[in-house]
């Protein structure tokens, strides 16, 4: 670079030249950086789904959707969650349902929106409807059943959508299991979801234990016993939440109940063996 050179051409030419050079360099840069851009986009743990623009526009109006698209998606979702909260405080069922749906559409990344939304649908809304139907009096069992089922269905559909965005989240499966168990009194479905939850990497330890408990309650103690036998060696002995002694206790209970012969009974690995195995893994 030897200083800027005096050009003999006029300014119009010079400006035109600058414009062309700048545009060309920008295009080349954009093309060259495409791979980096794609790589960063792919590296997202929860790839951002394009929000369905029409749907958001219909609910929120143009301005808010611009904010959503303009990088303030989380903030908009928070504010909409506030609206959902206000509707919830007023026990306004249609508004609450719409807002929960909108919030999760705008920003499906935070789990708390999905989980809290499902709980509101399954439990609170059921209460509201029962209260409205009963007007203080008792609600006929058939009607109660229907309302509870409908609300559980609504919550489960929401959680199915959540699984679409968070396939690796155990919390969603646990929530589904809870709803099956608590509102529909369907331990078989619940057991199934607890097992799915237990298979996921961030599963809480209790999911596997409850799965066994439900199998026992369903009259399938052999399955429960087999499940617990293969579960126990995977539990870290030192951790309280893992509850290895509790699981061992249940195994012994089942062995007594099922009258498993002494020589076929489960032999717990020595603690230090487990520790050695742990060390190898580390």
């Amino acid at each position: 670079m030897a200083g800027w050179r005096f050009t003999a051409s006029g300014i119009v030419n010079s400006r035109a030249k600058v414009t062309v050079v700048v545009s060309a360099v920008l295009l080349i840069t954009g093309a060259a950086l495409r791979p980096v851009e794609e790589w960063v986009r792919k590296a997202e743990p929860h790839p951002m789904r394009p929000v369905r623009a029409r749907r958001i526009n219909a609910v929120l109006g143009q301005g808010t959707s611009m904010a959503v698209l303009g990088g303030f998606r989380a903030l908009v979702a928070d504010l909409l969650w506030l609206k959902a909260y206000l509707a919830w405080s007023a026990c306004d069922l249609p508004a609450t349902e719409t807002m929960i749906r909108v919030v999760t559409t705008v920003d499906g990344r935070p789990l708390c929106f999905w989980l809290n939304g499902a709980r509101i649908m399954a439990y609170d809304m059921t209460q509201w409807r029962l209260r409205a139907v009963g007007r203080g009096g008792a609600v006929p069992t058939a009607l109660r059943r229907r309302i509870t089922d409908e609300q559980a269905g609504m919550a489960l559909r929401l959680l199915e959508d959540a699984r679409g965005q968070h396939p690796e989240s155990a919390a969603v499966c646990v929530e589904m299991a809870n709803i099956h168990l608590n509102t529909r009194a369907d331990p078989a479905a619940a057991a199934c979801w607890y097992r799915q939850a237990a298979a996921l990497p961030d599963a809480p330890y209790y999911a596997a234990r409850i799965h066994a408990e439900l199998l026992k309650r369903l009259g399938r103690p052999r399955e429960a016993y087999a499940w617990l036998r293969q579960l126990h060696p995977t539990l870290p002995p030192g951790e309280e939440a893992a509850g290895a002694p509790v699981v061992l206790g249940r195994i012994r209970d089942l062995e007594r109940a099922l009258e498993i012969p002494e020589n076929e009974r489960y032999v717990a690995p020595e603690v230090d063996v487990v520790a050695q195995r742990q060390q190898k893994i580390d």
Partner: protein, 278 residues
């Protein structure tokens, strides 16, 4: 004849002077105050007793304010600090010294980057303090929810602040490029905001309209996507607030992307400025 080499020291001198001017113009204090007020107003969420998701709200509002006012600061400061030199003709006294035009324009960029860094550090620190305070209050109120210790990813917060700085830096370099070519400060500011909108929206637009029939419109979008950086890549704060994590690789990728754009915009700004009539 001894050559005068490009000197980092002189560039830093100009950067320091630019930063000092911005600070004395009360540009930075004003924006920091506003962003702080916004962040503080996130405390209103406390009245709703959301429990631990209150922290997510505070974080979202804080980063929203950081990004929003940072974008304004970045565009206005770049255009203003450049054109004030042109309009006051002080650029003439600077360039009448043995100073490369590259040193001048990169010094301006450096000054704005420093300004944005201070801004991002201050607002992020403030946000972290606020979160810490809120979290402590929540932990006292509901110890059960915090059995595993604090839930806010404070390290992630720092990374988010850094990524926001990179994004604002790219925006500043883009605005400076426009300013080095444009005739008026107003034009540069408007073009900066226009570019910001395109940068933020172009990738979504490509996703939506990628399947469009009109190949003309699709080609146009592709072209926009090539010319402007994709700012969606920098929106990592949402992810941290939503409980996600940031890998070093991801941050490295984002930083590489930002630095590439920073150097290209800086280089082009130098090129435009060398062809500018003063």
């Amino acid at each position: 004849m001894n050559r005068v080499a490009f000197s980092l020291a002189r560039m830093n001198l100009i950067a320091g002077n630019t930063f000092r001017e911005a600070v004395r113009q009360r540009l930075l204090p004003l924006v920091i105050l506003v962003a702080a007020a916004m962040t503080g107003s996130a405390m209103l969420f406390r009245d709703f007793h959301f429990g631990s998701s209150e922290l997510k709200f505070v974080m979202d509002v804080g980063f929203g304010a950081l990004t929003f006012f940072g974008a304004i600061l970045s565009i206005v400061a770049s255009a203003q600090l450049f054109f004030s030199e042109i309009e006051r003709r002080t650029v003439l006294t600077v360039l009448a010294k043995p100073v490369w035009r590259a040193e001048f324009i990169l010094g301006k960029l450096g000054g704005v980057l420093l300004l944005l860094l201070v801004y991002c550090v201050l607002v992020t620190t403030l946000l972290a303090g606020l979160l810490w305070w809120c979290e402590t209050a929540l932990m006292k109120a509901d110890p059960g929810a915090f059995e595993a210790g604090r839930t806010v990813a404070y390290a992630g917060l720092v990374w988010c602040g850094l990524v926001q700085w990179l994004k604002l830096g790219v925006l500043a370099a883009l605005t400076l490029l426009v300013a080095s070519y444009a005739r008026s400060s107003l034009f540069a500011v408007l073009a900066g905001f226009f570019a910001l909108v395109i940068c933020q929206l172009q990738s979504l637009a490509r996703d939506y309209y990628g399947m469009m029939d009109s190949s003309l419109a699709r080609g146009g979008l592709e072209l926009l996507g090539l010319v402007f950086p994709n700012f969606q890549l920098f929106d990592v704060a949402d992810r941290v607030a939503a409980g996600g994590t940031l890998s070093i690789g991801l941050i490295g990728g984002i930083a590489a992307y930002a630095l590439a754009y920073l150097s290209v915009y800086g280089g082009l700004a130098v090129y435009c400025f060398r062809h500018r009539e003063l």
